[in-house]
Symmetry: C2
Subunit: 392 residues, 2 copies
Amino acid sequence: MSEKIVYMDYASSSRVDPRVVEAMLPYLRELYGNPSSQHSVGSKMKGALEEARAKVAALINAEKPSEVVLTSGATEGTNVALRGVALRNRDRGNHIIASKIEHISVLNTLKYLAKNGFEVTYLPVDRYGTVDVEALKSTITDKTTLVTVGYANNEVGTIQPIREMAEIAHSKKAYLHTDAVPAVGKIPVDVVKDGIDLMTISSWDMYGPYGIGGIYVKRGTRVEPLILGGGQEGGLRSGTENVAGAVGMGKAAELAMAEMAGDAERLSKIRDRIVERVLKEVPYSFLNGHPTRRLPHNANIRFSFVEGESLVLSLDMEGIMLSSGSACSSKTLEPSHVLIAMGIPHVEAQGSLLISLGRFNVPEDADRIADVLPRIIKGLRQMSPIAPEEVR
Amino acid sequence: MSEKIVYMDYASSSRVDPRVVEAMLPYLRELYGNPSSQHSVGSKMKGALEEARAKVAALINAEKPSEVVLTSGATEGTNVALRGVALRNRDRGNHIIASKIEHISVLNTLKYLAKNGFEVTYLPVDRYGTVDVEALKSTITDKTTLVTVGYANNEVGTIQPIREMAEIAHSKKAYLHTDAVPAVGKIPVDVVKDGIDLMTISSWDMYGPYGIGGIYVKRGTRVEPLILGGGQEGGLRSGTENVAGAVGMGKAAELAMAEMAGDAERLSKIRDRIVERVLKEVPYSFLNGHPTRRLPHNANIRFSFVEGESLVLSLDMEGIMLSSGSACSSKTLEPSHVLIAMGIPHVEAQGSLLISLGRFNVPEDADRIADVLPRIIKGLRQMSPIAPEEVR
């Protein structure tokens, strides 16, 4: 395989932006010190940490930098937000509402809470993956303390009506949490305008380093910490701060603010070309997710009579890296719970390909995949016992 | 201040070893991919992750690399170990035993457990900070599921009789957890020989990167996860893996294995020269902690009639960076709970200086601090209302 690798799996893992790495290097190579220390070496680190926090706060339009709590990543952020709000507000109620298509970190945290005395209602979605707002209205009660719906789905790309759901949540004095990992840095997210109380943010999903992330926690929100110790991050997240990581995440946020619009325009053109060519050139292929209200860098295409894993391996042999189904639970080989919730039959759901583009894709990448897919799909269908004669 | 900064606060924060940074750079600059992905870019990352894990396992002599669970750092590791064992083994008992001189992450996690139906017994220590093994024997019961004692104290450096305590714990079928953050990579720690069931490990404390750490969990130990999601790290710690961080921690472990003995010899000489000169040249100065059974890079010196914070600030002005009292809760300005537990009166405890050396200290550093301390202490005592005439 002499050709350059084409990576279209940014929902699973992203390259760190080289400018982010450059910003981090002094904090890996020369600078050190504990931001909590009393001496001057420590206070310099404190300054760097707070500058980074302010950049993340600016990206999401938080009113105060202190509303951004740095964690070790999005999964921890979601765990803190959901458990922290549920447990801290148990005196007000034990009911939580989520959608059926949440990320596995949300779903597994809710499963834990359900085992520990909480009641969880899962909202259905329509065939495009849009959460049913009417169902939220009819299931929310005075006992509901938390509504959690992802800002945009990380598999099918559908963007949710968060502002509307926040209003409904607030009408019953419930908090609105949103896992905004696939959205922050890719499309404008404004916590004030959208009425968000808590929001999970990732660093690597916006080309920052791994091992760091955050939660936006609106001032005054009642939430308890998950990780206890020295009381860092305003008491909400203990542990010696990862200053190099924070600086990297801050730089990533700064770059996202400046380049988000341009990236979105560029990537949506590549994405649109892939979708257009594939849907035209491959029979029985369909776009999963909302046709227009979707993330600019995401396409999720379903191929009848094909098995997703074989498709991923065939593309791998062509030097093209992608995921089938859910990017984050692809270990299980179960069909995506998101596609199932959208009403797609099991066997069809399994033949889906998640194309998630990123800042380092180039226009030529579109044709690289569009050129090989018809042949690969045809080959796989020839081996399928269920494929009709005309597509073999 | 034109002189080079002398950093003696390695218990608060450490420089990352340049060789560690070099090892990490390819994983920051070129390599990316999710270790759980099915494609070949992902599996390369999986390989790097497992290689790093094996290096950490080798350093502590774990039987299997999979017994090392990577976390975001030591604080998270301790939270998982303590809460995970307590909750998972509640059917066997609700009693936990700790020492009074544990790290704040241990103490605050135990406080949380005590609020949630667990009973915690705190073992006393003697005047050298050695945990009372007889007290463990007399307080352990069939309801005890966990004994947690730090391998070596991060403030006073005293090394604990862990093996003996593990035997006592096991005689009642309780697990032995040890926070070994100040010890791993500095002195030989062998989980098999010492009979350790769970152990907290830090990366930055052994010159690795921040934002990563781990727990050793002996195979077969009943423990439940704290952070839920995609089921990474054998289900014990969800979240996209920080491969660059893991590679750095692995490299740090490899370097520690090779250089631990040499570092210890070199640093203990610097430390001994500081202690010898200071105790001789400064009246009313005393070594806190055990005179011989202590970490090679640690000295904790108490000066009567002096206030620790002023001492830290005075040394800072001389370009010497140190901590007073506890390195990790120095924000609070409370006298160290470790020194109090050792029977040192409040006012005396507050005049303590924590000298924690690291790989990048040089022999000349000893005289840098020993040369200035007598004058600084004298100056501070002149302003003290309680200092006797002869030391002013």
